[in-house]
Every structure is written in C-alpha cells, then in structure tokens.
Symmetry: C2
Subunit: 487 residues, 2 copies
C-alpha cells in the first residue's frame, strides 16, 4: 500500500485548493462540466483491466460483480453529463415585476436558480469500491452540480482508491478542469479535520450508523453547520402475504436467499428480515435452501462486525437457526438464516431489527396478516421495504402506505438489492437510513444535495446568470410568472 501525506498542513492545503477550484468550476459553462464527466467515464472504462484486479485483491468481491459495478459507475457519470444541458435541475424561476401583485405591494423582478453549494467532502464506502467510492455517486453528483470534491478514501481499498483517483485526476486535467477539482485524503483523522474545515460546505457519506452518526454530529456542531448527507443503515424488511406464500413458496425462498447472499450480503439494501405466514410451506422451503459456501468479507472490520451482529441475533431466546452455509472458517463466515416468531420479534424489536451487514437474515413467522400493520407502525426509518403479494391482497391497501412513511423505496414483488441508476430512483429514507430524509444518494435527484437557491432581484440582464436571462440562452425549462415554460 502506498503511503499518503496525512499531515494537518497537507489537509489544509487540499481544502484551500478545493475551495478555489470550486469557485472556478462554479463558473464553468455546462458544456465543460459534461465534457469532464464524460472524460472521467471514458477513462474509467479504459482502465478497467488495471483497476479490477486491484479491487478483487482488496475487497474479495468477484470479478463479474466488480466489472458490473465499474460499468454502472461510468454509466452514472454519463447519465449526469447527459442531464446537465437539459437544466430542469436548476429549478429556474422568473417573476417579472408586477405593480398590481395582489399581495398588496408591487412585486419586484425576481429570478431564482440553484447554484453550487461549494467544496464538498465525500466519504467513500467499503462495499462498492467503484460505485460508492472515489468516482461514485456522491462524487459525480457534487461535480455535476458545480463543486470541487475532496474524497476521503476508504481504508478497505487504499490502492484501488489511489489508482482510481489517478485516473480521475488525469482525465480531468486532460479536459482542462481546474487544478484541485478532485483530490483525495486518507485516514480518519484527515477526514475529521476536513469535515471541520470552514472551506468545506457539504459532506456525503455511506457506511455504518455508528461512524455516520459520529460524523453527522461533527458536521452539525461546527460553528457554521453544513449539510451532512449520510446513508447509514437499514434492515429492509420484506413482507410476504399469505396468498403470495401459497402461490409460489419455492420461488420466493430461492429469490430471497439470492438477494440476501449476493455480494456476501454486504449491500445496504439487503432484505434483512422476511415476514412469512407461519402456516405455509414457505418456512420449509427456506429451510431447504442451499446457502452458498462461505466467502471472505470485505475486510476484517466488516467481518468482526458481522460476527457480532449474528451472535447478538442468535443470542435472543426464541431465535433458532433455519439454515447455514458450509465452510464456516476463521476468515470467511458462513451465510446463515435465523427464524423467530412474530411474538419474539415484537419483544426484542431493537435487537432483531438491527442490520446484520453480511450474509445473514432473519425469517419471522406471523399468524395473522394484521400483525404486519402493527409491526410496520414500529419500524425505524428504512432505505427500502418490500411486499411480496397478490395484486388484490387486501392487506396491501393498508400496509403499503404505512411502509411509504417509513422507507424511501417501497417494492412490490421484486427484491431491493440491485439499485438501478435512473431518473426516479430514491436511495434514502428516514433516520437511520439517512441523516437527511429529504434526499437521495442514487439517481438523478442526487444532484440537488449539492445545490443552494439564490434569487436575483432587479438585476440587469448583463449581470444575470445565463439560466435567468430573458432570452433563455441555455434553452431550458423555466417557471415564468408561475407558469412552467418549455424551451
């Protein structure tokens, strides 16, 4: 592993460069931003054969999974690049002066758009070494919004971080982006110092509840508090209705286990608790599933955390082991399914609804579907909640709205892993799923996190930002005197 300069002086210089790069990047025309994002995407694709082996060595993830993840990462960069010229994300609004404004006083000429928030600190995640790391979703949405990025590399894949960062920096330099637009820092101390720096105006994070909350608290307690967009933890409950279990117990059992054990269960949207009717063959089908052989987890910290959470679940009276994978070893924990009754769950909800980050899940048997409503009422905030049901299941009419109050994404007859990058995607929910309930870290709406509104009153045309000029030189959709006007 390469050594990195983590001295305070170096961190401070990095922040200074980022602040100044942010000021330049803010003024870059949209075409420069799209060119930069496309250049990074192309460079990542071109360096795939160099990056993938480093990622395999450092994360123990399979090659196919990593290649897919890298493809997703460059796709995401290109999708943001494609979105930028369309400009709806600027939320441009123009109110012309109106002497007869019914408020009782004349309306001045007011024009408002979203502008870059300023230099942004991104904490990389361990479990997606490409898509939620150096050039991942937080980085691309902050850059697309017009901000410089300081990336705190994850200690789980330092060499990959350095190699990816070099690709990003070179690609940005080749298209003439400002120096310091993208920089990396290493180590917890450097990350905390950067988070406290006045030059940093927003931060994003994907990781554990404990780590994320500690950083959120630092961001909130700064003399100038800044937005901290943390994606922390989620159990992602899935509810199988009685009739769905009758229809396709075998299929449900197979697909659930695949969703739980993919990427060795190290996904933030892994369905961690499955509610199934006690009186159905689904329990037996789940018991009969062959769990995959043990594979090493991302790193030692993840592994010990996983073992702790599994021990905590299995230590609850009334919890039994429904099935376990072969080859449990010192450095590769076996996948495991637990089972408990809904009575047990309700008595030990805090423990049993805690995330087990790794290849484990809990199957909860219920007697009556109405129990699901009571349980839904007690859920903490979730990234996702899933119903496996029949279209005319009566329980869904009440259960689905309850779940929408507690989760950012509600699924029907699909499994929550495999988060698609789209216009309508939502990856974020009430705390502890995220620290900022109104935001998403995946999908095109993620850009909004790194923007802030500015209104211009009575400002001459020549001094207005292009998006707000009378002639609409950017050719974007705008709300003019309250009416949405397409270009």
């Amino acid at each position: 592993m390469t050594m990195h300069d983590t001295s305070d002086d170096n961190v401070d210089q990095i922040i200074d460069r980022a602040a100044s790069a942010s000021e330049q990047w803010k003024r870059a025309i949209i075409a420069e931003r799209t060119r930069a994002l496309d250049a990074v995407a192309d460079a990542l694709d071109q360096h795939a054969d160099e990056l993938i082996p480093i990622a395999q060595r450092e994360t123990h993830l399979a090659e196919a999974r990593l290649r897919g993840e890298l493809r997703r990462t460059s796709f995401q960069l290109r999708m943001f690049a494609e979105m930028l010229p369309e400009g709806l994300w600027l939320d441009a609004r123009i109110d012309h002066a109106d002497a007869d404004w019914p408020m009782g006083a004349p309306r001045p000429d007011l024009r408002r758009q979203l502008e870059p928030i300023g230099a942004t600190l991104v904490f990389a995640a361990s479990n997606f070494p490409f898509a939620f790391s150096v050039a991942g979703g937080d980085t691309v949405s902050a850059l697309a919004a017009g901000n410089a990025v300081v990336l705190k590399a994850h200690h789980g894949h330092p060499d990959l971080s350095a190699a990816t960062a070099a690709v990003v920096v070179d690609a940005l330099a080749e298209v003439g982006a400002p120096e310091g637009l993208f920089q990396t820092i290493y180590g917890t101390e450097a990350g905390v110092r950067a988070l406290r720096a006045p030059g940093i105006k927003a931060a994003a994070f994907t990781g554990s509840v404990r780590g994320g909350r500690a950083l959120f608290d630092i961001a909130a307690s700064r003399p100038e508090p800044i937005p901290f967009y943390g994606e922390l933890g989620s159990t992602n409950p899935a509810f199988v209705t009685r009739r769905a279990a009758e229809r396709d117990a075998a299929g449900i059992a197979r697909d659930f286990v695949a969703s739980v054990t993919g990427s060795a269960g190290q996904l933030c949207t892994k369905p961690g608790v499955l509610f199934v009717p006690a009186e159905s063959s689904l329990v037996a089908e789940l018991e009969a599933q062959q769990l995959p052989a043990a594979t090493p987890l991302l790193n030692g910290g993840i592994e010990s955390g996983f073992r702790e959470s599994v021990a905590s679940t299995s230590g609850v009276a009334g919890v039994r082991t429904l099935g376990a994978g072969a080859d449990d070893a010192a450095d590769a924990p076996a996948a495991v399914l637990f089972a408990a009754s809904s009575q047990t769950l309700r008595a030990e909800m805090d423990t049993l609804m805690s995330e087990m980050f790794g290849p484990a899940a809990l199957v909860v048997t219920y007697d009556d579907e109405s129990e699901l409503l009571e349980i839904a009422d007690r859920l903490e905030g979730q990234l996702t909640a899933t119903i496996i049901g029949e279209d005319d299941d009566e329980i869904a009419v009440d259960l689905l709205p309850k779940l929408s109050e507690r989760a950012g994404r509600v699924l029907w007859n699909q499994w929550p892993t495999g988060v698609s990058v789209t216009w309508a995607q939502q990856h974020g929910g009430p705390y502890p799923a995220t620290t900022a309930v109104g935001t998403t870290s995946v999908g095109m709406a993620a850009i909004t996190r790194f923007l802030r509104p500015v209104a211009y009153q009575n400002v001459p045309q020549g001094l207005l930002p292009d998006a707000l000029k009378e002639g609409n030189p950017l050719g974007i959709a705008r709300r003019v005197d309250g009416i949405l006007v397409l270009p």
Copy 2:
C-alpha cells in the same frame, strides 16, 4: 393574558394528536387541502378588525403595517392553495421498466414523488405577528405539503396568538379537516419538549441566532435527528458604487434610511451596513437625514438586545455617530446611524458586522472600490446583499457573483426590506442566515422543506399514489422516462 396548559402531559397529548392528524391529512385529496387553506385565508380576513387591535397592543407596530401584514398572510395562504393542484411541487417521476437499460442490468418500473414529512413544529417569530407567526409562512407551507402543525406561540404576542389560533382552528373544523391538524403550545419548555418528541418530524423557526442555534442543536442531537429550518440572523450589507453615489446621493440616503427605520428596524432583511465611497456627498446626505422619532420596540427583550448591540457597535474605537433620532426614552430607543472607515470595519469585522435588531445601521466609508471585493470575501452567510450601482459599473461584474456565494438574495438598486411572496422568492442563505442553506422560508419553494421523496418499484396501478398512476389522473407535469411531460 390567557393562561395555557403547558404541562408535559398536555404537550405529549398534543403531539400524539398531531401525529395522527398528519396521517389523515397526508391522505386528504388536494382539493381538501386547497379548501382548508382558502378557508383559513377567508377567516383571517373576516376577523381582521378583531385581530388588528390585539396585535397593535401587543407589538407596538402601526395599524397600517399590521393590516398590510395580515393581507400578505391571507394572500400567502391563497397562493399556496392555488399552487397545489398544479402539482409540479410533487416532482413526480416515472421510469418504465426497460430491459435494455444501458447500466448493464434491466431497469425496473420506478415511480417517485414527494410526500409529507410528518407532524411539523413551528416556532413563531416576534416581528411579524401574522406573516411569520400562527398562520404564517411556515405554517401554511407545512399544511400545504400535507402535514399537521404544532405551533409554539411567541411570548411577545400571546393574546394575538390565541385569537389567531382560534380563527384557524374554527376555519379548519368548518371544512372538516382532521382534528388536531393545527394546535398551539405556549412557553419555552413546552417548545423544547415538543422539539424532542419522536412524533415531530420537522421544525421551523424564525428568530435570533442564539435561540435558533440552541434549538437547532437540540434537533440535531435527537436520537432521530430531524430537519430544523431556522432563519436566524443577517446584516444584509449594501454596497454603493462610486458612480451610483455621484448620480443620486440624496435619493440613496433617503431610501436607505427608510429601509433601515421601517417597522422600527425590526426586519430580518434590514440593510444593517451600507458601504459608501468616502469621497462623495453621500456621507453628508446621510448625516442630513432626519431620523424618525423613537418608537417602542416589539417587547422588552428586543429592546434590551437592541441597546446592547448598539452599545457594542458604538464602543468600537473609530466608530462615530452620524445621526440619531429625537426622543430617546427609557421605553423607546431612538434610531441611530453610525459611521466608520473600512479600515475600522476590517479590524473589527465580527463586532461591526453583527446584526443590530432595531432602528440602527452602520455606514462604512471606503476609499477604493476594490476593497469591496475583499470585504465580500469575508462576509458571513446573509439573507440578502445589495448593490446600488450603474448598469455598466465594472466592479459589479466581480462583486455580484461573490455576493451570490454568501447571500440567498442579491439585489440591484432596490432595498432588501419588504420581502415579496412570489414563485421565485428566496428567503434563506448560508449560516447564520439559515440553518439549512438549501431552503427558503418565503415564496412557493418553501413547501419543499416539508416533503420527502418516496419511490415505488413495480407497484400495481391500484396501489400507486394518484400522482404516479399511468393515466395521470391529477393532470400534473411529470418526468416520464427522463422527459418532462406536460399534462
């Protein structure tokens, strides 16, 4: 003054009722919400003659000002009501399933909209007893978004709060809104208890930096942190260019003093510091202004705070009194204008750029326009920043973008007081102007604060919210497969 039950039990019951009302209100169709907002607006107008005298007695504000403010308040309710059916605020997005999604994995059917955040706690302000109080901007935007509101009344106008609340509650009951949709609590302790209650999902505040920061810290340190939309403090600097001062020194002096002393200077957007060229007649024109006679401030706390901040400014070596109003009295401080050189300001920036909430301002003389850029670089976050200039003033090309980085609203040749309620208004800026830099508390975008995104994946048509159904039953603009589609 009426006595109010501020017992813990009563506060807890109020929160419980609010949470349950919020759940009902969330499901109310748009037409019910618009009817409720319109009903409150009508009721306020009808009760004007009853409410205005109470407001005069409790706030010492003039009748004309209060009548204008009440008109603004009912106008604001109607404007939100009018916006609701248009539905662009729902940010509805529909991505149809796509087997060939270039990300590398099929895209599922994903549909996303903004939904109500949950029961909201609103802390009323003292200086706008109608527009930022019981039925003010925070209340209406939270209600419009589909949430119940618990209003913590301001101690400065308790009788007006109770009278206005009775009007609101009656109007809501008449149109059949859920019981508990709008409730009031009284006293600091009750406010803090409510802010800590798990049933409260967001809070809004307008007031001082000290009080607002203390509440922000409580909101952020909850087990489940919630968004706290605080509008705290702002000095609202205004910069007069050399050529503008030459053109119309008398007009600038007159309009500045009017903006500073209107409502006895008790406006969050009062221009507290005016930068003027030392070598111009503007200083003499300002000195020649007749300042209005002393009037009592809103309440004793405001008055003692004002006297402290004035003493702190006048205590800085190099600060002189440029002019003062007549009739300084124990219960009615005189208006005052101070003057200092830009050197003095730069040496004592923290003290001299602090808000003096009341009828006072500081005039800062500069020698060279380039100094303005240096000063702009050092500004804290502001609600507004103003340039009084000529359209072809070279300095504006650099100064205006710098100000846009530090203020939420940038004005040209107009004064910042008199915040219009419009589509494009922005009332909020970097800290300490607001605690949530990406938001506004005035204008139609204020609704976004009380919404959170929810995505539905593969959900049957019959279970989807109306805004996301294929047939577009609400008839709203939506982003479908990435393209904005008008109804």
